[in-house]
Symmetry: C2
Subunit: 220 residues, 2 copies
DNA sequence: CAATATTTTTAGACAAGTCTAAAAATATAT
DNA sequence: ATATATTTTTAGACTTGTCTAAAAATATTG
């Protein structure tokens, strides 16, 4: 069984919203995420329900079935492996790959992504620090990952991920030298707005609460 | 300006048939090539004509405009570069890549194929010996290429291309050890059916006229 | 709890691309 | 040159995914 690009994008969006909010996904949330109208979502959601990829009760939102979830995770796997390829092999920057991966993730071939995965030597995380599901759908975890937010004065860690993968944010981080793998130390926390002074190997930077809550750190 | 996958496939098909037959392309030929119906072709052809990608006069067939030709060549460039990638980097065999390249050729990104081209070190020919157009649309040529057909007894050459890229034919060639880069010598020609005995480095094989007219050779 | 606001669904329409069946144009054969 | 065959176009319909406007259901609030 193979699905259209649109169906795959709906499933992926449902998966994302389900994970984020931990409950069934409303028509409006989905419409917003997919940049379409609620009425379009209602139509598509009926189709996916008939194919048993989601469960749907009128006015009650949707959630993925086992099968729908498998498909969603597979698309995410494709997306992230392609992102690794684009950065590692073609020299793209981390803020340039998402759009292209959105297209590449829908290429229909059982084998292609597996071969790409071999070629890339089975990466566990993508260029934004997001975990890459394996062929069976298992998603790698990091035991010790916390938000930079939760790091106290004097504590150190390594940047291993970003929560927000918005291009402008990624470019900002690049300029601040706060990219994946960088070692950082909390120098100071301003209580009134929770902004922090962060020491990296090269320089000191001040970041807002907004920024520190979007950086994933492994304590060291 | 960006075009749909369908539009791109029509342009590519028209390009192929125009090159092959050297005249304007009929509705039926196009329908046959694209595995669709003549009525569908008529509809689409009107659309492409309105966009000035082809010229079309009712009952007279179509041909590409300069702009349409540029697009077609670009898609062919994408296709062939992806085929090189699949074979050279992911270890696919030459009979396994066409289908996937049919999908990958439509990925929308000015930059992607250029970067891939750099990564592959600017190949001039794809895994089937077909020339890869450059960014500007220039298509590399081989001065000395002839059909194995035209090689007389005792003459030698190197296989540099196949005219027919049908999977079964490619698999047959693989088994006969008649793949790209192989050195061959014509040992004997049977006049009654123009079949030939060919000596490769490893063994002697007998091939039909059909086969020898589909192999491109550089004399040596 | 009733009035109001918000969310969701329905109804009907549209664009892209395709199809079948029939009509019109062109090509071929007597 | 006329009849026949083939090719091409038109007409009308279908599917997928989308939209707007209006109706129905649910949520919020005084
Ligand atoms: Mn991404
Ligand atoms: Mn990512
Ligand atoms: Mn090909
Ligand atoms: Mn090829």
């Amino acid at each position: 069984m193979s699905y259209t690009k649109t169906e795959e994008n709906y499933l992926k969006a449902i998966y994302g919203l389900e994970s984020k909010f931990g409950k069934s996904v409303s028509t409006n949330k989905l419409a917003n995420k997919l940049e379409t109208k609620a009425s379009s979502v209602t139509d598509m959601v009926k189709k996916l329900a008939k194919k048993e990829l989601i469960t749907y009760k009128k006015y009650q939102g949707v959630s993925l079935t086992k099968c729908g979830k498998e498909i969603a995770i597979n698309i995410i796997r494709n997306h992230r492996i392609w992102e690794v390829f684009l950065v590692e092999k073609l020299g793209y920057k981390w803020d340039e790959v998402h759009e292209i991966a959105e297209q590449l993730e829908h290429i229909k071939s059982e084998e292609l992504v597996d071969r790409l995965d071999d070629f890339l030597e089975h990466p566990s995380f993508d260029p934004h620090g997001d975990p890459i599901p394996d062929k069976k759908g298992n998603i790698p975890t990091r035991k010790e990952a916390i938000q930079l937010n939760e790091l106290a004065i004097g504590e150190e860690g390594i940047i291993v991920g970003v929560k927000n993968t918005n291009n402008e944010f990624l470019q900002y981080l690049e300029e601040m030298n706060l990219t994946l793998g960088k070692k950082i130390k909390v120098e100071k926390v301003f209580d009134f707005d929770k902004s922090k002074i962060i020491k990296t190997e090269k320089k000191k930077v001040t970041i807002s609460k907004e920024v520190s809550s979007n950086l994933i750190i492994e304590k060291s």
